[in-house]
Symmetry: C2
Subunit: 332 residues, 2 copies
């Protein structure tokens, strides 16, 4: 089997570490690993597949090395600066930041949903926003079977989505310490504020869900609104997803679709208290779907509760799955 030289940029961050873990776990064929980070973390030693590696400092010359794929998770500014350099040197970049997601020349890919978009990549592929990824996995079977008219998203997002600083704010907040990272205390609070506010009153996170959904599902006519909320949970995003389908549906058909859909675990037995939960999804690669029920307030309405580990399927796992898909499609 062919193997590849893989760089992980931001290798010491929360998502970067999880990328390394998932590359190992899913046994991606890594020949040589190139962990990279900013000067702050360069020189640290990490372990991968039982071997030690020293974290390199990311610089303009980093991609002069023999690298096939670079998984980036070091923030938008770092991606914006270094991804084009890597791409120009023939490295395929899978970028977890928002820098290129809405660039029409860059595919935005969830492998279960739109793997075919990889075919037109020009060496940069964007990994979608965490809250969007899990919704896409859950909505794709519905789009294919019935078409989607409108979506109302309300999210319940974990602090790990803000990286170590968000995590620490909740951990310390629960001990009674003051918030340092979030604008308000997250312990005991639900903050309707993720990423910065835009002029239209929405947050960037909310508009990511709107715009990325349309791009991934290839349908600019889907009508979408979103309210994104940070909750005092460490791992896994939960989502209340209200959907209006184009065609009539049967609930049994929806459940049957989910029972066989790729990347989905159907958990929908409320009588026995079985439904998706953040702590069940923690450290799992799948998207959990449940609380499936008819929305009687509109024709072809449907309510879903969708949960996934935001650091895994919402970030690291999806990026590694993209790498696997590139191999499978012989695009690398």
């Amino acid at each position: 089997m062919k193997s590849y030289n893989v760089a992980v940029v931001g290798a010491t961050g929360m998502v970067g570490q999880k990328m390394l873990e998932v590359l190992e776990e899913l046994k991606f064929p890594v020949k040589n690993l190139f962990p990279m980070a900013s000067i702050r973390s360069a020189g640290k030693e990490i372990n991968f597949n039982g071997k030690p590696y020293v974290v390199q400092e990311l610089c303009d010359e980093s991609f002069d090395q023999d690298i096939d794929i670079a998984l980036f998770s070091a923030g938008g500014d770092t991606s914006a600066r270094f991804s084009p350099i890597a791409a120009s040197k023939g490295v395929i970049v899978i970028d977890n930041s928002s820098a290129f997601r809405m660039d029409p020349t860059v595919p935005l890919v969830v492998p279960e949903v739109n793997p075919e978009d990889l075919d037109w990549h020009k060496n940069i592929i964007a990994n979608p926003n965490c809250s969007t990824i899990q919704a896409m996995v859950a909505l794709k079977p519905l789009q294919d079977a019935f078409g989607i008219e409108r979506i109302v998203y309300s999210t319940y997002q974990a602090v790990s989505g803000s990286g170590v600083k968000g995590y620490a704010d909740l951990e310390n907040g629960l001990k009674g310490e003051k918030n340092k990272f979030y604008p308000h205390q997250i312990a005991g609070n639900c903050l309707p504020h993720i990423d910065s506010f835009l002029e239209n009153g929405y947050t960037k996170e909310e508009m990511k869900m709107v715009n990325e959904t349309r791009k991934i599902l290839h349908d600019d006519h889907i009508r979408i609104t979103a309210t994104t909320v940070r909750v005092p949970v460490f791992y896994s995003h939960s989502e209340s997803v209200n959907v209006e389908l184009k065609k009539p549906y049967q609930l049994d058909k929806v459940r049957a679709l989910y029972a066989h859909a790729p990347g989905i675990v159907l958990m929908d037995d409320p009588e026995n208290n079985i439904y998706p939960l953040a702590r069940i999804a923690e450290n799992r690669n799948e998207v959990f779907v449940g609380r499936i029920r008819r929305d009687f307030s509109v024709d072809n309405g449907l309510n879903l509760w969708v949960v996934a580990d935001n650091i895994r399927k919402g970030a690291a796992t999806n990026a590694v799955q993209i790498a696997f898909e590139l191999v499978k499609r012989e695009l690398i």
Copy 2:
């Protein structure tokens, strides 16, 4: 000023204690207080307006005493059994349980919204469900000005809504102890499960929001769906409320309405990180409204974020305000 003999049934519970606190704070004209509870709590001494009272055991003869108003918060079964006894003896019951809410002969009242329904009471008045009350206060100005076509509720509800046992489950869960009350760990989790499940896949809590909204707003044609979720927060329910209005609206007009609406605090300055929060609403009697923005996905769509202390405005405060309204309308 006339004063009244007031019974508080369930006086030692979480809501009952808050009823006593709010009666004091808002200076309801109490002549004599009759704290009552089950045999488990009877005999305990409580303080009210600086005077000690002994908690009586609730029994069939309790309402033979000279009582004008009884605030009930001792669960549905207790209300179902004892409210009719009290009512038959001329006591006006304000009942916080769900026992009589959907009874067409019983008014279901939020004083800022439908005080006129008190006029036809037959000695039992129902206090709505906590999550419904705060939504009603926020939606009434919109209904009056523009009409409401459809509502999609997603809630973020505090553990105090389950009383002391729910509260303890979160407190202990945060220390790493196992859940005793909820079917799953609430610490670090969002449970899409409040009250029991019905055959249509909804929880009772979700259907309360649907049915009580229609009854309080006097409009059976409003189309409503709800997803209700317990979050690891001690006090105050937060709600993502997506509304479709009947008529076109201007955002400035909506904000102006909220700036002057009774019982509402408008907190809507996202640029300065000002929006409603559970910990800001804690121990306040008002409903906090913010994140007001156009929902571009539907004609006349609007998104709101609505927060209130579930034990105060969602229960005790609303009940005491009903008592004040009875006095004001000379119905007592």
